[in-house]
């Protein structure tokens, strides 16, 4: 056992010295069209295209990391990766723990989805993905909230009657609703966030500055809007 421990320690200490920095970007990979795993088993989607473009402009070497949504902030803070691009809305609660770049998507609407028009949204049971801005919103209403680790299970809860309605990002829910024969949008859309930004560690000012510069450049030359339209359709909200 002693030998094993020594071997482990030796392995840990000698596993190579660091060279050029690589920026590791985490994403959930289960939130189309923002980010998802494509048929080749690689991450794809709006954020992957955007992230690669930003890295090219900021002259950074980037790789993608898949990480579950509910542990995505703790793993950033303990430096398992350097940035989060996972449709993370900028809000006050998160700003206490991590820092955000400028928003790369304008504030997105959130919608309710249910099986029938008359679903009780005020005091009924509403399913959400855990740790999202939509979850904080439902927690503040009179409704009973059910939390699920991913968006798939949120819809499953509505379909099997555990929840009266689901509440989530409109763009994520739209393809599910359009594909299905039973789900419909109900109620009013809600605007919750200050837009979506890249999450970085609070101490990582250098990376934040570089990414901010790249985001602003893309917003100015119109390539940001093009990318948004490519992934979210012509009617998507864009920058002025």
């Amino acid at each position: 056992m002693k030998k094993l421990m020594l071997a482990a320690a030796a392995f840990a200490l000698t596993a190579g010295m660091g060279m050029a920095q690589t920026v590791r970007i985490a994403t959930e990979g289960a939130y189309p069209p923002y980010n998802f795993i494509n048929d080749q088993g690689q991450v794809a989607g709006f954020e992957v295209d955007l992230g690669n473009e930003l890295c090219k402009r900021a002259e950074l070497q980037c790789t993608w990391v898949k990480n579950d949504w509910d542990s995505i902030i703790p793993n950033l803070v303990s430096a398992n990766y350097d940035a989060i691009m996972a449709a993370m809305s900028i809000n006050e609660e998160r700003k206490q723990v991590i820092a955000f770049t400028e928003d790369y998507l304008p504030p997105a609407p959130s919608s309710y989805v249910a099986l029938e028009e008359g679903a009780n949204l005020e005091t009924g049971i509403v399913a959400v993905q855990t740790g999202t801005v939509q979850a904080s919103h439902v927690a503040d209403t009179q409704a009973t909230m059910l939390e699920y680790p991913n968006i798939d299970q949120v819809f499953a809860a509505v379909r099997n009657g555990e929840a009266d309605a689901a509440f989530g990002d409109h763009e994520v829910m739209r393809p599910f609703v359009e594909d299905s024969e039973d789900l419909i949008f109900v109620g009013e859309q809600v605007h919750l966030d200050e837009g979506i930004g890249i999450g970085v560690r609070q101490s990582d000012n250098e990376l934040r500055e570089k990414l901010n510069a790249a985001i602003n450049a893309m917003k100015q030359d119109g390539s940001q809007n093009e990318l948004i339209k490519k992934h979210f359709g012509e009617d998507a909200q864009t920058y002025e």
Partner: protein
């Protein structure tokens, strides 16, 4: 995979299915069965080693070593597995990075800054420049350690019991022949204890097989991860849209685990027969009588 798979939306029936089941995604799913088998193949011997060390330690004549062995077996067995699986890899990872940061970084910079745990780039483990498979392998390495610590404690208890079950008269006879304690252990105690330890160890192996989905908790992409990922409803954003198929994927995993346990049962039956030969146990006695 096949030449006709270029436009999946034009396919239907078996052709569609054959393309669907051979996407890059599914290849990774099939490969993850290998990950699980690899983890089992590495963890079982390492856990047995931990268990053997623990059992020997708790029989030691030196009080300090004995306490260490006893505390290890009773403490680890008392803590819920999932807490251990969440705690050990994170603690090990941070311990390694802290050690490396003392060597490669400026020691005056604290690792904990507010709520952040940061070491300099050179001390990262694995380095952020390493390819993805290194990160995966490192994750599996931490998982193996966590599994080995937990299952080692159970194995230690089983082996400790088995050592006590070896007839004491035999050990005393060996001593009377002038063997040293070390020789008694090696020649009499250890060869004889396996027959008593085997039922308990077989049991542990079954539990270990069933515990592998905990890999998913540790962020290793195992069969449970892929079943959930592939089975989830796919919208038109994907090349192969389909409704929620998780039931079928989990069914496939269920069959895999059942086959594993069935195979293990047969394997252990053979070993049990082999070890009972010539032993002064009920099974050994039955074999002696059955022999012509």
């Amino acid at each position: 995979m096949f030449s006709y798979c270029t436009d999946p939306s034009a396919l239907d029936g078996l052709a569609w299915l054959s393309c669907y089941l051979t996407t890059g995604n599914h290849m990774l799913f099939y490969a993850s069965f290998g990950t699980v088998l690899l983890l089992l193949a590495i963890t079982a011997p390492v856990a047995l080693l931990f268990g053997f060390g623990g059992a020997m330690a708790s029989r030691s004549r030196i009080a300090g070593v004995r306490w260490f062995g006893r505390i290890y077996t009773s403490m680890v067995r008392g803590v819920p597995d999932i807490i251990f699986f969440l705690f050990v890899p994170i603690a090990l990872d941070q311990a390694f990075e802290w050690l490396r940061s003392r060597v490669y970084c400026d020691p005056s910079v604290p690792v904990r800054q507010g709520n952040e745990f940061i070491v300099c780039a050179a001390a990262k483990l694995p380095l952020s420049t390493s390819p993805e498979w290194v990160h995966q392998a490192y994750g599996i390495f931490l998982a193996v350690i966590a599994f080995a610590v937990v299952f080692g404690a159970f194995a230690a208890n089983v082996l400790h019991g088995a050592m006590n079950a070896v007839p004491h008269a035999q050990l005393e006879t060996a001593e009377a022949y002038g063997m040293s304690p070390r020789q008694v252990n090696r020649r009499i105690l250890i060869p004889q204890m396996w027959t008593y330890a085997l039922p308990g160890l077989a049991n542990l192996w079954m539990i270990l097989i069933k515990a592998t989905p905990l890999l998913f908790v540790l962020g290793v992409e195992d069969i449970v991860y892929w079943a959930r990922e592939l089975g989830g409803a796919k919208t038109r954003a994907y090349a192969y849209p389909h409704p929620d198929w998780r039931l079928y994927y989990f069914l496939a995993i269920l069959v895999f685990y059942l086959l594993m346990t069935w195979g293990s049962e047969r394997f252990f039956d053979r070993i049990r027969a082999r070890l009972s030969r010539g032993q002064a146990t009920a099974a050994g006695e039955a074999m002696r009588k059955a022999a012509p």
